[in-house]
């Protein structure tokens, strides 16, 4: 009896010692399908690294952004790994808020990361965040409605074709809108779409001297085309539609076309959620023959804040979550179609993935077609395709987004919206010291 008590005591003491030794890292992330899947698969990581415990903090995107920004700016040290996007990485890296990722391991194969994505996450040639999944935007369309309209979607359509197809597909009596596009105000909502679209119209946010360009004809063409298209063929109340609202409409068969994130392909083609799963075709984002397409580039990435005390454990986790091994793990448990897309070239060379994901080639082509350092036709002083990677952009982008959303809702004219956008941008740039 005594011996048993002693053994038990020793065992619990050693367990306690082990628990005390285990390092726990806190990971802040967003709630989307790929991230939730990763949380379910972490046993694979903790088995290989029994001395590291993982704590998850999942938050809504805007709350997450605010929380991690507060924490990193005050060096609060609450998180060891943060999920951030291509907008934050260059700004935060320049502030020395992030640690460079140079110990990802020998078999990590950094060169395998798609160059357009790696470029957006690097500053001065150093990688500051590892992409977990990457996305561009493209056209998703209903093959049956396109056929009914007597048209054939080219692989690389023009805006003119989109307008023509939308006009023909619109059948409001039966609840079908020719095209669904984002209208909800926000720098990451309607302005992501409109900024990317404006690139294909040759517009830019600022000239080389940071002078706002909303008074130029390119912006007028962009906004006028968008408002006219949506008025004629868009859904009712489009000015309050974001990604999720349009996704619901498309899945219910109420949109002929939807131009949005490539990640949506896996949702609209999922028979469990989508009523039109077997009728969806994909095409590159439209252009106007100016050499740039209206598609964006985004990567949800894992980065390590400079304030962490557990940098090594954090980097081990980042390396695991963004590795080729992780892609294989997801494939073995949930099939190739569920592997996080858009980060590694090797995934797109994999015949099994190509077979499982019919949108694979189009996604890769879209990502490759986006160039964050030369986003539009004319030269620009900033980095970013659907955003401008400066700290002022979140506020300014949302202000302009509200003005453009009001123009879509018919509360103001296109000219008024552009004039006010020009004034707001000039004020923000003057205040920020970009122009005098």
């Amino acid at each position: 009896m005594k011996l048993r008590t002693l053994t038990l005591g020793l065992l619990s003491a050693s367990a306690l010692a082990f628990a005390a030794h285990a390092e726990s890292i806190t990971i802040a992330t967003v709630n989307n399908g790929d991230m939730v899947r990763m949380q379910k698969l972490t046993d694979d990581f903790t088995k290989a690294n029994p001395d590291i415990q993982l704590n998850w903090v999942t938050l809504e995107e805007n709350v997450l952004r605010e929380r991690v920004t507060t924490d990193i700016a005050t060096k609060g040290g609450q998180y060891d790994v943060m999920t951030i996007g291509t907008y934050e990485v260059p700004i935060w890296a320049k502030q020395s808020w992030l640690l460079p990722l140079d110990k990802l391991g020998d078999d990590y194969d950094v060169k395998d990361i798609i160059p357009a994505i790696a470029g957006g996450l690097s500053v001065d040639g150093k990688l500051y965040a590892a992409p977990f999944y990457g996305e561009s935007s493209f056209v998703m369309y209903r093959k049956d409605l396109m056929e009914k309209a007597g048209l054939k979607m080219p692989d690389a359509p023009t805006w003119e074709f989109i307008k023509q197809a939308a006009d023909k597909m619109t059948d409001r009596a039966n609840g079908v809108n020719g095209v669904c596009l984002r209208g909800k105000a926000g720098w990451g909502e309607n302005m992501a779409f409109l900024t990317a679209m404006s690139n294909s119209f040759g517009a830019r946010w600022f000239d080389e001297n940071w002078k706002p360009q909303f008074d130029q004809p390119e912006w007028k063409n962009t906004l006028q085309f968008y408002v006219d298209l949506m008025k004629a063929d868009g859904p009712e109340g489009a000015s309050s539609n974001g990604f999720n609202e349009n996704l619901a409409l498309f899945q219910q068969g109420k949109c002929g076309m939807w131009i949005d994130a490539t990640v949506a392909a896996s949702f609209v083609s999922d028979p469990k959620a989508s009523q039109v799963a077997d009728k969806v075709g994909y095409a590159l984002a439209p252009d106007n023959g100016l050499g740039k397409r209206g598609n964006w580039l985004w990567a949800w990435s894992l980065a390590i804040p400079a304030g962490t005390q557990k940098a090594d454990a954090a980097e081990k986790f980042v390396s695991w979550a963004t590795s080729k091994h992780y892609a294989e793990l997801v494939a073995s448990k949930e099939g190739w179609a569920n592997v996080p897309p858009g980060t590694r070239s090797s995934l797109y060379a994999n015949p099994e993935y190509q077979k499982a994901a019919p949108f694979a080639k189009m996604t890769l082509d879209s990502i490759n077609a986006a160039d964050p350092t030369h986003p539009t036709v004319k030269p620009v002083p900033y980095v970013g395709v659907q955003f401008v990677a400066i700290p002022e952009f979140q506020g300014l982008g949302t202000t302009v987004g509200q003005l453009f959303s009001a123009a879509l809702a018919g509360q103001s004219s296109v000219d008024d919206a552009l004039k006010q956008a020009q004034d707001a941008a000039t004020a923000a740039m003057t205040e920020g010291g970009y122009i005098k």
């Binding site: 967003v30 989307n32 999942t58 805007n62 609450q78 990451g188 994130a261």
Partner: protein, 274 residues
Amino acid sequence: MARAVTTQHKTIATAAAWIVALLIFFPILYTIITSFKSEQEAIQGFNLIPSGTFESYSEVQQQSGYFKFFFNSVLLSVGSTILALIVAVPAAWSMAFSPSKRTKDILMWMLSTKMMPAVAVLFPIYLIFRDSGLLDSRIGLTVMLMLINLPIVVWMLYTYFREIPGEILEAARMDGASLWNEIIYVLTPMAVPGIASTMLLNIILAWNEAFWTIRLTTTNAAPLTAFISSFSSPQGLFWAKLSAASTLAIAPILIMGWFSQKQLVRGLTFGAVK
């Protein structure tokens, strides 16, 4: 005849009350209904009859684990309420029974702290919490919730105490009761309904507080507000899961409110019909 009109009036008033109540309660009801739908059903437009699946509940539990958050919510809301009462009862007593020239101004000043949006002091508070090691701690958050609800607690108690005739307290004093005896044996028993409803309201306010509880916590101290927030998604439609999480989060407070509605209503209308 007059009797008939009264009955008719009563019926109309009852019907109107039911309609208004249903309108107010409808969002919560629909959330509960949606939580018993599958994700596909949830996005398919308005539908009051769910298929009755528990899929979302089991997924929500699997993904986040409800009880840790629930425990924190109970601890924070009850803890902050008790703390607030300890501070507010003496404060309200002194303001009600021995007011000074500036009592009104002090009351107004206390209330004015509620007039500033919370986000305006996010950075100072965050820095104070960081430097005192209180980020993601239950103690820090309990104190924070106590502080933000204190003005309301003091105001409510002050209003109740004012309804109690000062003569009774004087009589107790004449009989030789000390200050503490007076508060504990005379004032408190008379103010129990007021204190109880203040307590209930404060627990509800603390339970639902979603600004500081999300911003000052990460994992250890995170209550149910953080639990709900983790199911809100910008990319992807998880309405059934979000509804299940919301239902789980509001259920305890809803049940508590149901059982204590008499005290709540009595407390909230105390002094209004005089």
